[in-house]
Point group: C2
Chain length 423, copies 2
């Protein structure tokens, strides 16, 4: 078992500098304050905020050769530089640095390696036809990273300031941003706890850094619809858990179910949440998300005949995807006038299976930064294979394709939109 520092009778308080002094025992209290799930000093105003003017840039003396477009693999080759900001509980955010891409030198006791003090983001920089570099809704990534970081007692930061630094980083790495449609620079902000002790407690220091990898289109020769295995033996997230946060902790436990699905011939696994359906009083498999994407279904309402685009609600068990949010907004703006209903609501595998059996399941797709959308051909569930409405000779449904075109149109600046932020 790991130690509990607050149990230590002697010397231990020197470690736990961020814990408030023990107050009166709660015997006197009869109600608890509504919890605010972040460390008390995560955004302490007495500490230094990010200071963009302090940015120091050290350019590499050995620039890398660009990887040919047809050899780009997601997250495998990286640009020349990285952006780093150190934080300490005593000082706050230290001066930002852009340096040559380089290894981190970490004490083997560093808390990120033992207790998963790590939260990340995935975002992309695009180059439009005029050569202008653009980010897609970076404010959403910054807000989520702050929420994720605070949830595990890591510090928060000023997202607008960090976007300024990201822009500068993109300018430095501009030659790595491919200009062809579908190509982009995948940007990975990551924050890790760097305290070098084994006590389990709030890290007294952290490192927020950014690396970037040029990536090609998911579908250079057109869409490939995927098959999913609904996982009934493992559960990704739970009410009161951390499934809504983009924490490293949510990823490693998901890989074995993904491999199990692959062994049975599926491309990905689909995460369910078994719960009692208040409407029937029976246990049902609620659909949550797929692999590392959110999931959407297009179904025809049995009673009304209305088309519905449905995805699971943000109830704390679902990752708050930026593309998910964008799809919902575009659907409300552009599909609702065509007669569609757009729903964030719980829905069950039984409902999906019934819609499929009755020809009411039009299409299903995943959404995420990497692929934008991923069409789904079939879902394996309790030994049955549910067809998701895609004809044998097609790889993508109409709504899925339109969503991809709309979002990419905005990302590549073909449609001017407030979501696309010029660097």
């Amino acid at each position: 078992m790991a130690s509990i520092r607050s149990l230590l009778p002697r010397g231990s308080n020197r470690l736990l500098t961020r814990q408030p002094p023990a107050q009166c025992l709660a015997a006197q209290r009869r109600t608890y304050a509504t919890p605010n799930l972040q460390a008390p000093d995560a955004s302490d105003p007495k500490l230094k905020a990010i200071d963009v003017s302090q940015l120091h840039i050290t350019k590499t003396t050995t620039p890398k050769a660009l990887t040919p477009h047809n050899e780009l693999v997601f997250g495998r080759t990286f640009t020349d530089h990285m952006l780093s900001l150190e934080w300490t509980a005593g000082e706050g955010w230290l001066a930002p640095r852009i340096t040559p891409y380089q290894n981190l030198s970490l004490d083997p006791a560093t808390c990120v390696l033992h207790y998963a003090f790590e939260a990340f983001e995935g975002m992309k920089a695009y180059k439009d036809k005029s050569g202008q570099v653009r980010l897609f809704r970076p404010d959403k990534n910054m807000a989520r990273l702050n929420r994720s970081s605070a949830r595990i007692a890591l510090p928060t930061f000023d997202g607008a300031k960090f976007i300024e630094l990201l822009k500068e980083f993109c300018r430095v790495e501009e030659r790595f941003i491919p200009s062809a449609r579908g190509y982009s620079l995948y940007i990975r902000p990551n924050i890790i706890g760097t305290q070098r002790t084994l006590g389990v407690g709030p890290p007294g220091s952290a490192l927020l850094y950014v690396i970037a990898s040029p990536v090609g289109p998911y579908y250079p020769t057109g869409f490939k619809a995927i098959s999913l295995e609904a996982t009934t033996y493992a559960v990704r997230a739970w009410p009161g858990g951390v499934g809504a946060s983009k924490l490293g902790a949510n990823y490693a436990p998901c890989v074995v179910p993904q491999m199990q699905a692959a062994q049975r011939g599926f491309h990905q696994n689909l995460w369910l949440f078994e719960d009692v359906d208040p409407a029937t009083g029976e246990k049902e498999d609620f659909v949550t998300e797929v692999g590392t994407m959110n999931l959407f279904a297009c179904m025809v309402d049995k009673a009304t005949g209305q088309k519905e685009l449905v995805t699971a609600p943000l109830d704390g068990t679902i990752l708050e995807g930026v593309v998910r949010d964008s799809i919902l907004a575009l659907a409300r703006e552009r599909l609702v006038p065509e007669g569609w209903k757009v729903s964030e609501r719980r829905f069950t595998m039984r409902e999906v299976a019934a819609a499929a059996a009755e020809g009411r399941l039009l299409e299903v797709f995943g959404s995420g930064t990497a692929a934008v959308v991923a069409p789904v051909r079939s879902i394996g569930w309790k030994g049955e294979l549910i067809g998701c409405g895609l004809p044998e000779d097609r790889e993508v449904g109409e709504v899925t394709k339109r969503m991809k075109d709309w979002i990419e149109g905005i990302q590549y600046g073909e449609e001017e939109h407030e979501w696309s932020v010029k660097v």
Copy 2:
């Protein structure tokens, strides 16, 4: 969103070397195999096993000064050396090395830093009166580390071989093992995924390493009973989750609730699991574990008057503590003949509160490697403070004290027992 490598239409398979080739779609299958939650090649017999004879030792040329006993802080100062074993998906376990304690040089894309590919153990080496160094039930730690590692697609290993290496490491670090009762060398085996790519999948390489920190007794001047706040707004683990595994992923999300409890004057938080009690059909708060320890309660049965030692069962949501297991075994051997009942069963906060109100709650304690046992004075639950049976002027209950004496007696070789393994 992170990428799904198996979605990538091109080049991606080069990364996913550990994934079996796509087989027939599962359309033909109507039943799924019972899942074995580890990576398919976690213990591939074609790969190299740990070879103790290959151990290479490089001694430090700058030995550290020993920290005075009264300045020892858990997990803060470390010994001169570390033990390391690299693993690759292509070769298996490479030659073990004992080297000077040194920083790890990690690419900023290394998967442990992004997706929490990390699992660890906590164990101790003790020096008995004759100077003999001893480990306590190391086979249990090895079995658990293998289970934890496999659960996140990291490799497994031969525990007996690794214990041989641990013994050699203890011999090298023998001068750091304090000889006084209550002092010991805390040993931290840790396994991390070291693949340097951002694709979410089974790591193609890993590092298993061991560091060690001399530690003092939790209670050099006697026990201090702690107070717990039962956490009703966050959940540590759930059925189908990874709460039974000693993963980094289980720790970072627990720190903010621990800090919140501290802000309200409690030493630690107590994790609950809300579920329907089949006996009553009502939702109840089931007691699971405390902070980083398992929890035991001693209660008098209302109907029979029999004394019962109770702890939550290993249902997948509870960490399988080595001290927990030892307490249960000793209780069955030594308390049952005195008339006690020993139970691994679900129990609720309502049951604990009722026992307290009726004078039937004798004592409560946590158990773990760091403290062995930690007596509990009170539990805050939904605004009430439940006294745990300890008189104002006492810091430890009778069973808690006996358990500590029994287990420490075995750990320090005062009682010869198969659990104590000589180095």
